[in-house]
């Protein structure tokens, strides 16, 4: 009986209910879209910020060297926060342009003067992922096993007067005893090559690298080529890591890496890690406050509409009271009805809101917004609460309704 009255009330007063239902649906749609984008913004904007580059650098601790198998540990998947890693080996070598056609000759007339150059060995495919701002005029080194090509920094190319497809000859250890940069600071125990053990390699310039950073003065080759050039097979100068998460999580990850890698230390790149936390924190706070405002606006509109809806039915209340309904029966009836509207509106609003959130998410972080149980439950709770609360205001009026007065005509 009770349920039947409630069901009838909902189906029969369709147009009056329409306004309230539409208000509720639009309100929960907007709120769902906002909340979903807000939650995803935390995670996916983070991914956008990762374009600033590595936020953890692993380097050998004093007096030791970094082994390449540390890379395997990092990429083994035991740390899901790690988005990307790239190994680096810095070698200070002598370089000069080698004219074409003489590639086969080993003894070169010392005509073009030798320059001291920093040679960076890396997995170019990974370095490129980690540093999306790198630009190359010409071709990239496509494979990390390509030992014959190099990228030459924009400023260095200008200084050497070299361009794409030229040949660059690099020699290591031939001149005055140059130490490798592998240890970072001076005083490392890197195996130094004597002047006699000079290594020489020729590279084809695949492209000119423009980064606006120190790489503009360097030559980039494959990691293996740099290791062979310097006779440091299996050694690294540094590993750059790009890790997701807030500053706390990145900091925790750095100390975790620190404790699990021997003879290496992981440092937080404070320029990136700290700024990132700051920017992201501010953004999320803004989003949250704005979402709350929107929620308030939506709740107010739904609340006033539903309150008016209840007030409007004084006549019906009068009739029911006249045929013997108690105030509490009526209240229960209204609450069930409003709960039905609240739940229905919330569910429909959630579905529409998720549809609305997709294009927003795609334009913001080029990824769809993922549905979340938390958001769904929150929307249900909020719309239910708003619907039920809107009955609280007119409760006293419902109790005070005098059936005789109402039925007579106000």
């Amino acid at each position: 009986m009770f349920l039947r009255i409630a069901a009838k009330a909902m189906t029969h007063r369709r147009n009056r209910l329409g306004v309230a239902a539409i208000a509720l649906i639009v309100g929960s749609t907007v709120t769902t879209a906002m909340l979903s984008v807000y939650y995803d913004a935390g995670r996916k904007m983070n991914r956008e910020l990762r374009a600033y580059g590595a936020n953890i650098m692993v380097s050998p601790s004093e007096g030791t060297s970094l082994d390449q198998n540390a890379m395997d540990r990092l990429t083994s998947g035991s740390w899901p926060e790690i988005i990307g890693t790239a190994p680096f080996l810095y070698v200070v070598a002598q370089g000069r342009e080698k004219p074409h056609g003489t590639a086969g000759l080993t003894s070169q007339p010392e005509s073009s003067d030798l320059r001291t150059i920093v040679v960076t060995g890396t997995w170019v495919d990974q370095a490129r992922k980690l540093s999306p701002w790198w630009q190359v005029r010409g071709n990239w080194i496509e494979s990390r096993d390509d030992d014959s090509e190099c990228l030459i920094g924009e400023h260095l190319a200008h200084q050497l007067g070299m361009d794409q497809a030229n040949l660059l000859e690099l020699s290591y250890g031939a001149q005055e005893s140059l130490e490798t940069a592998a240890g970072g600071t001076a005083g490392t125990t890197e195996p130094k090559l004597g002047p006699s053990a000079s290594a020489r390699r020729t590279f084809t310039v695949a492209g000119i690298l423009d980064t606006g950073g120190p790489e503009d003065d360097q030559v980039v080759v494959s990691l293996r080529a740099a290791q062979e050039l310097a006779g440091l097979s299996g050694k690294l100068s540094a590993i750059a890591i790009s890790a997701s998460g807030g500053q706390d999580r990145v900091e925790a990850l750095a100390s975790h890496i620190n404790s699990s890698l021997v003879s290496a230390r992981a440092d937080l790149v404070r320029q990136i890690a700290e700024s990132e936390g700051r920017v992201l924190g501010r953004l999320r706070l803004t989003m949250l406050l704005l979402a709350l405002l929107i929620l308030t606006a939506a709740a107010l509109s739904v609340g006033t509409t539903l309150t008016a809806l209840v007030m409007d039915r004084r006549k019906e209340i009068g009739t029911m009271k006249a045929i013997g309904a108690e105030g509490s029966d009526l209240l229960r009836l209204f609450l069930v009805e409003l709960a039905g509207i609240g739940l229905g509106g919330g569910i429909v609003g959630y579905v529409l809101g998720m549809v609305l959130a997709q294009p927003i998410g795609r334009s913001l972080f080029s990824a769809p917004v993922s549905p979340r149980l938390a958001v769904f439950l929150m929307i249900l709770m909020i719309s239910l609460a708003v619907a039920l609360l809107s009955a609280v205001l007119p409760i006293r009026r419902i109790r005070d309704v005098e059936p005789a007065l109402i039925l007579k005509g106000d």
Partner: protein, 432 residues
């Protein structure tokens, strides 16, 4: 007569009118606040992103190849290819001077360092001279406080920032030297056959940055200039400037632009435009955007602005909905009044004009009150998040008042039409 009816209705039914005005006000306030913040904090977000440090780097045009890796310089920069320190105040005179938030000069010298207080081993490292904090007077009398403390807010100093005769030592060098704060460092520039120059600096603090600075010494620019024998010179200038992301306008050929577009382009601080402006005042320099920072920042800023715009639109939708539903219910509630007016001979136009006049009054009042409240709300939010108020564009005022007027008007017009369709008898007999 008409005016009297409206006036009486406003005064007699005060509570109902207050509810209507308050609802319009709330809607307008929320719309103002969100629109104001969404459109106004772009500049603040831009400033926040400046926490990432310098986005423009100035180097000598004919500089030699830098042989630096892992914080150690392998060859001193050749003399002659350096910038002049005396040019730096001229940065305050350029067209985009107000966009320059901070800058700092740098000069690196390879040195042999030894802890003189403890007599440890001698180590080769890099001494970087810079400005920690310096006040530059502009032409207009406005002073700019600049230096690495402003340029690189992420530098963490354990101890205190150095004064004259003091220096910062990177955390990893500190470990290698086995030195501690308050020790004196003896420094000698690296030169073939030893250098006659020697200076002593007291360690004021330990510097942690997570990059190359951790392995070096940071001191005053004068110290580095003296040690390297290059007074008044610097090797590198880093600048943090507010810039706009490069958009389609920036990449187009200037000759194809209309006069208005080309004016807009010349008035937009694109990174390249600011860099070119800087290049003009620093003799023999080459200024370039640090692409790692400026490009990432650009794409981030575009996205954030888009997000804020979407939020503003969503807020507007919610506010419009709130105001419309409230006005609709207030008109629906007054159906019997409409019937009564019609029964005593009012025409449809007469009834409509009474109701719409009332809705215009509520719309304007609510809109203006809401504008004021929303302005305050926006300031509160901006202060909470960014620690400073947000400038609200004056164009917001007519927009918000017009929107509340239109919404309140349309919100009463729709239910009015359905109410008028009913005959007076329907309305009076059966309180539908």
């Amino acid at each position: 007569m008409f005016i009297r009816i409206v006036k009486e209705s406003m005064i007699r039914k005060r509570r109902r009118k207050i509810v209507a005005v308050v609802s319009v006000m709330l809607g307008a306030a929320i719309a103002t606040a969100v629109l104001g913040i969404g459109l106004g904090i772009g500049d603040k977000v831009n400033r926040e992103l400046r926490a990432y440090g310098a986005n423009i780097q100035v180097l000598p045009r004919d500089r030699s190849i830098q042989v630096t890796s892992g914080g150690v310089q392998y060859q001193a920069a050749a003399a002659g290819s350096l910038l002049d320190e005396q040019d730096l105040p001229r940065l305050r005179t350029i067209f985009w001077a107000n966009n320059i938030l901070a800058f700092a000069p740098f000069l690196e010298v390879p040195v042999n360092a030894r802890d003189a207080s403890r007599g440890g081993n001698e180590l080769q490292t890099n001494l970087t001279g810079t400005w920690f904090e310096k006040t530059i007077q502009g032409d207009t009398g406005s002073a700019l406080v600049t230096g690495v403390r402003q340029l690189a807010p992420w530098w963490k100093v354990d101890g205190r920032w150095p004064e004259a005769g003091e220096c910062l030592v990177g955390v990893r060098l500190m470990e290698t030297l086995k030195a501690s704060q308050g020790d004196d460092l003896s420094l000698q520039p690296v030169a073939r056959g030893g250098s006659p120059l020697e200076t002593r600096l007291r360690i004021a603090g330990t510097l942690t940055t997570g990059s190359d600075e951790d392995r070096g010494i940071i001191a005053n620019l004068e110290t580095a200039q003296w040690l390297s024998g290059q007074p008044g010179k610097l090797a590198r200038l880093e600048i943090s400037a507010l810039t706009n992301p490069e958009d389609s306008l920036a990449s187009r050929d200037p000759s194809t632009l209309s006069p208005m577009e080309s004016e807009r382009r010349s008035c937009t601080p694109y990174p390249n435009a600011v860099a070119a402006d800087i290049e003009k005042v620093i003799a023999g320099s080459e200024a370039r955007p640090v692409r790692r920072i400026s490009e990432t920042e650009g794409s981030l800023l575009t996205r954030i602005n888009l997000m804020l715009l979407l939020v503003a639109v969503a807020a507007l939708a919610a506010a419009v909905l709130g105001v419309a539903s409230t006005t609709m219910t207030t008109v629906l509630e007054r159906k019997s009044e409409i019937g009564l007016l019609k029964a005593i001979g009012a025409s449809d136009i007469g009834v409509t004009s009474i109701f719409l006049a009332e809705s215009i009054i509520t719309g304007i009042f609510g809109g203006i009150l809401g504008l004021a409240a929303g302005y305050g709300l926006a300031q509160v939010i901006a202060r909470t998040v960014f620690g400073s108020g947000v400038p609200l564009s004056p164009i917001l005022a007519p927009i918000v008042v017009a929107i509340s007027l239109i919404v309140s008007f349309a919100g009463s017009a729709i239910p009015l039409r359905t109410s008028l369709r009913l005959g007076p008898t329907d309305v009076l007999r059966d309180n539908i």
